[in-house]
Structures are given as structure tokens and as C-alpha cells.
């Protein structure tokens, strides 16, 4: 029996919500007016954070795809086995009367 279905929000909707949440938090802290600013070190780290995260994600993507590409299995045995099976199949089918 099916379990509870997932939320009705689309993936795009989830991304927009998430970005809006993080974006507004970042803007509130990093772009706050003089009276409400967090301490200088925090602000200095916060301002370039979005770009840093983007670059970090870019590196992660390249590393992940690269790793998966390098470890993509080559099925030599499967191909050889298939050739064997094809031979056996053709012989047997001919015996059973198949006209190719």
C-alpha cells in the first residue's frame, strides 16, 4: 500500500522558498542599517558568503561528476557473456525451426 504522498510543492517551489529564506536571513544580517549591524568580523564573513557557497558547490559538482565518471563500471564480462548467449540462442532457435 502506498505510504503518505510527498508534499504538494514543486521542486522549483521548494528551491525558491529555501533561497528566499536564506536570502532574507543573509540580507537582514549583511545589509542591516548601522544601528542594527552585527559585529564587523561577522559582517566581513557574511557579505561574500553567497559567492563562496556557489563556488564551493561548483567544486563539489566537478569533483563528484569526475569521481563518478572515473568509477563508472565497464562491463567487459557482461558483453562477452552476451556473445556466448547469442551463439547458443541462434543455434537453439535454428533447431526449433526459426528461419532468420
Amino acid at each position: 500500500l502506498p505510504s503518505l504522498p510527498q508534499a504538494a510543492m514543486t521542486k522549483l517551489g521548494q528551491w525558491l522558498c529555501g533561497l528566499a529564506l536564506l536570502g532574507s536571513a543573509w540580507a537582514a544580517l549583511a545589509l542591516a542599517p548601522p544601528g542594527l549591524q552585527p559585529p564587523l568580523p561577522l559582517r566581513q564573513a557574511l557579505l561574500p558568503l553567497p559567492v563562496y557557497l556557489l563556488v564551493a558547490f561548483g567544486c563539489y559538482s566537478l569533483a563528484t561528476v569526475g569521481y563518478r565518471l572515473a568509477t563508472f563500471n565497464d562491463c567487459e564480462e557482461a558483453a562477452a557473456e552476451l556473445q556466448e548467449h547469442i551463439r547458443a540462442a541462434r543455434a537453439d532457435l535454428r533447431r526449433r525451426g526459426l528461419r532468420l
Binding site: 521542486k11 561528476v65 565518471l69 563508472f72 562491463c75 548467449h85 526449433r96 525451426g97
Partner: protein, 242 residues
């Protein structure tokens, strides 16, 4: 009450110009099922192939019997989705296997699908080329890179809970496949992706089995820019609508 076990398996084989491969696939399927004692039927949906595939299918029906080989041809190429729907109308099994008829999928994995299905009482078991000892034969670096890159993008955008979304070697409970066919509208690779995404939305459970994909066709038909573009369009559509 014990979980339901597969009593009969219906294999849907949409074909187009598979005169050479069809008898081999059918022979392998019959041997696999007889060796493992699985009750089966094979439904061949030929879309008016000009190379005589239907004629070969008729010979196979004579050899193996019309209770095991069901021919349900169509007049011309009408698409994969409708082929499944058409085939399912005549399926008497309670589990359906969909696979390619060009020998890129080997029937030997089907008993493993069944084992996996029983293990987790899954609604769907999907063959994956990307996990465990799954893999591919016959792809060059470029093709593998496109495959891994596209899959990565799909994982990030759709978080589908399955490692191989574009694969088309799967076992479905019959009623699950029927339900999904009602809801899926895409074409090509994206159609296979949409099935998994919608399945998750509907709360169906998905198990995975590593499979080997032996591509003997790639040398003749390289993956071109057009296909990549339509894949991306389809992916973005799924991203925005599911």
C-alpha cells in the same frame, strides 16, 4: 498476512526494427523464466516495423505458444508510453517488466528484480547502471561524461530517491504501472524519469538492483545535441511541475 509474491510476470517488449534481436531476447527470457520457475508471458508490441520484425514475432509465437508469446502489433510508430498502455491491456500478470528489446538489457537480472521486490515488498524495482556493480559496456568517455553529468543534474534538481532515472529496465506492480501511465505525459528519456518522480509523489516504494547495460548500438547512433537539449527541457519541466 504474508506479502504477495509474483505469481505471473508479464514482459512488455515494444519493438521497432528489431528483427535480429527479438528472437534472441525472447530466447533468453524464456530460458531465464524456465530455469527459475517463474510463470510468464511476453507481450510483443511491434509498431509496424518495415524490417519484418512482426514476421519473426509470429514464428516465435508458433515455437513457444500463443499463451506465452502474445502479439499485439500497431500500424506505425506511436510512441513508448502508448505502447505500454496498449500492452498492459492484454497483460494477465500481476507484475510487469519493461525492458529494451535490443539486448542492452539482459533477462538474467529479472529473477534478481523479483528477489529484491520480495525483500522489501517494493512497488517498483529499478535496474541501475550507477550503483553497486552496475555499469555499461560500449560507451566512450564522452558518452559516460554526459550520462554522469545529466544524472548529477537530475539528482540535484529532483532528489528522486533513485540512482538511475533514465533507465528503462524495471519491474512494476501492474496496478502501479497502470496508475503511473495515467499521469505521465513526457516523451523519451524524460518519460522514464517522470515515472519515477510521479511514483515517489504517489508514495510508491522503489528498490534498486545493479544491472549491466551492453550498448552495441552506440557506435552508430551518437548522443547528439538535439537529444541533450530535449533532455534538459524535459528535466526543467519536471523540476517546475512536480
Amino acid at each position: 498476512m504474508a506479502a504477495p509474491r509474483p505469481q505471473r510476470l508479464s514482459v512488455l517488449l515494444p519493438t521497432y526494427n528489431e528483427r535480429d534481436n527479438l528472437p534472441l531476447v525472447v530466447w533468453l527470457l524464456v530460458r531465464t523464466f524456465r530455469d527459475s520457475g517463474i510463470d510468464f508471458e511476453i507481450i510483443i508490441i511491434d509498431d509496424g516495423s518495415p524490417d519484418g520484425t512482426q514476421e519473426i514475432a509470429e514464428q516465435l509465437e508458433k515455437i513457444y505458444g500463443s499463451d506465452k508469446i502474445l502479439l499485439r502489433p500497431r500500424p506505425r510508430k506511436l510512441g513508448l508510453g502508448t505502447a505500454y498502455i496498449h500492452g498492459m491491456k492484454h497483460a494477465t500478470g500481476n507484475f510487469i517488466v519493461i525492458m529494451d528489446a535490443d539486448l542492452s538489457h539482459h533477462p538474467k537480472f529479472i529473477p534478481e528484480f523479483i528477489r529484491k521486490q520480495k525483500e522489501g515488498n517494493f512497488d517498483i524495482v529499478s535496474g541501475t547502471r550507477y550503483k553497486g556493480n552496475g555499469g555499461v559496456y560500449g560507451w566512450d568517455l564522452r558518452r559516460k561524461l554526459i550520462s554522469r553529468g545529466a544524472n548529477f543534474l537530475t539528482q540535484v534538481l529532483l532528489r528522486p530517491g533513485a540512482s538511475d532515472l533514465t533507465g528503462s529496465f524495471r519491474l512494476y506492480r501492474k496496478e502501479v504501472l497502470q496508475k503511473l501511465m495515467e499521469k505521465c505525459v513526457s516523451k523519451g528519456y524524460v518519460f522514464q524519469m517522470e515515472m519515477i518522480v510521479r511514483a515517489r509523489q504517489l508514495g510508491y516504494t522503489i528498490g534498486e538492483v545493479p544491472i549491466s547495460f551492453v550498448d552495441r548500438v552506440y557506435g552508430e547512433s551518437k548522443l547528439g545535441g538535439n537529444e541533450i537539449v530535449s533532455f534538459l527541457k524535459g528535466l526543467l519541466t519536471l523540476f517546475a511541475t512536480t
